[in-house]
Symmetry: C2
Subunit: 199 residues, 2 copies
């Protein structure tokens, strides 16, 4: 018996399903929500429902969007023959922050991971092949994460596309700018050696 009223118990339970939210944090969030005006709680609840109901995956690139095709795919100023392949919509947003890339994206919504039973057919790869068959493409830049699964996925895509004569590249991995060499891990240092360029 914790003597929570039922509605509070349900709320804490739902909140504790969020990532990084344990029972204590869920309690704190729940009491914070109860302290707000009903209007503010409605705004929060509506924002969740609206986002979930109105956001779709772009039929071309798979990115999150409220219009189809998405802003980037329908922008005439962006190069359709340059495609950057990423794992998630968050990666698209990270890439967009550099404000320098003027190509388009392709969001895989995952990576190939045999351990978890995720094969090439489980990620958004078919639509990439279709895209490449119907449109001329100069280069596919693979920007999956430098994890085992991300590397395996990059390899798989590269082997799939190269026979078709498509230029496939991988983003560079190395010591991040602003960090200290002595704190870089061995794999990062190895990558930065492998990716060295002549000055």
């Amino acid at each position: 018996m914790r003597d929570y009223p039922r509605q509070l118990e349900i709320l804490i339970n739902e909140l504790s399903k969020l990532p990084g939210v344990g029972e204590k944090s869920a309690q704190r969030l729940a009491f914070h929500i109860l302290d707000k005006d009903e209007k503010q709680v409605e705004a929060l609840a509506d924002s969740m429902l609206n986002a979930k109901r109105q956001l779709r995956h772009c039929s071309i690139c798979g990115n999150l969007t409220d219009s189809d095709p998405c802003k980037i795919c329908s922008d005439p100023g962006r190069r359709k023959d340059l495609i950057c392949v990423v794992e998630t919509p968050r990666d698209v947003m990270a890439m967009e922050r550099i404000r320098d890339y003027n190509g388009t994206y392709h969001v895989l919504h995952g990576v190939i991971s045999p351990m978890e039973g995720i094969g090439p057919e489980d990620i958004n790869l078919k639509s990439l092949i279709k895209r490449l068959q119907t449109n001329d493409c100069e280069e596919v830049i693979i920007a999956t994460n430098p994890t085992i699964q991300g590397e395996a996925t990059a390899m798989y895509i590269s082997k799939l596309l190269k026979p078709a004569g498509i230029k496939v590249s991988r983003i560079a991995h190395g010591v991040p700018v602003g960090s200290d060499l002595e704190f870089a891990d061995e794999v990062t240092l190895l990558k930065s050696f492998e990716g060295r360029r002549e000055l």
Copy 2:
């Protein structure tokens, strides 16, 4: 330009208003919510709205409840002449966890804090006086937090009730059980000296 779809921007903005949730965490939560089924998002949103709409403050003790009077106030097994005064409904739940206290509560929903412009009339104090006038009371136990404001509030209540011949007590503050004396701060140690009891 962050190129977020509008609904996502609104969702992230709403989530970042939660305590302890910065922009990065709000983004993470937002994408997590978008990855869920619509049913699951509805359950989360509904749990907030239901809790906010159906939970009230008990008209007797001020605790959060879905029925009025609350479970504790309407329990014939709980002593109505023993009242523990706490700051928030969370404190009631903490007290209930000891499973030993069989009196009732009074929730102030705040503490007196002249710095923040919160006076005695801004907290749930009037209803405590009314309670004491209409019912016999053997003891009022003040369990506000051991902060400056909590102590001031305890003092204020004690000075208010003592002339009426009501026994007022304060919970003990000292070295917490299971912790180490050498890590206790000076104020805690002082309190533990002041509160020493003969063995």
